[in-house]
Symmetry: C2
Subunit: 125 residues, 2 copies
């Protein structure tokens, strides 16, 4: 599937606007909008971070889920893992250029959520 | 929590870049980046749709999950449900103005996923 780089509508890429299940773009969309993936990518948009920084910023994430999320993001070429053979060993995480491209789209989304959260939650009462 | 409307960095809104668990913005962020929520909001960005249209476009969604997703989006004030007392009854769904605001941020994200999906999946091999 190809999309022209100046596509403004998804109908350009998908006949009749259907998002086929099992298509690579659905897999990628799932990864980049995953509960913890979004928080990690946004945290890394502010610069390189250590494991413990990410754990603290993505408040509530378990060690296991942090490891799994970082592994997926690394495999997707979005996050770079830099392990230094110091004592104690030090591991830093940062965004790749593709990750930077993506986080530039996620930060406005998170900002919108922060700006609208109170109205949305209050509106439900 | 308040963010200035021209915030470019999340550190403006969150001390030390921490995203507190249980905070309204986390709940809202979870809704708007949910697996099916994203697909429904993007489908509706192209205009009003019937239940059956949404079911077809969000390929793979179950009846139950579609109902649940639409209910959450309606409660969040993002989607408007218009039921007409015709025979047979007809129900249309459309974006509210808040929903339009949000979908304008989600469409570029989905477009990015579509454009990068092949490279990302191939890079994993």
């Amino acid at each position: 599937m190809k999309v022209s780089s100046n596509a403004t509508s998804l109908s350009v890429s998908f006949p009749e606007g259907i998002f086929p299940a099992g298509c690579p773009s659905r897999t990628v969309l799932d990864h980049i909008t995953s509960k913890w993936g979004v928080l990690i990518l946004i945290a890394l948009s502010e610069g390189e971070q250590r494991w413990s920084d990410l754990r603290r910023r993505a408040d509530g994430i378990s060690e296991k889920m942090l490891a799994q999320t970082l592994k997926t993001l690394e495999r997707d070429g979005l996050v770079h893992r830099n392990a230094q053979a110091t004592i104690p060993p030090r591991v830093d995480y940062s965004l790749t250029s593709r990750g930077h491209e993506l986080s530039a789209l996620l930060v406005p989304l998170a900002t919108w959520a922060f700006q609208n959260a109170d109205d949305i939650i209050n509106g439900q009462r």
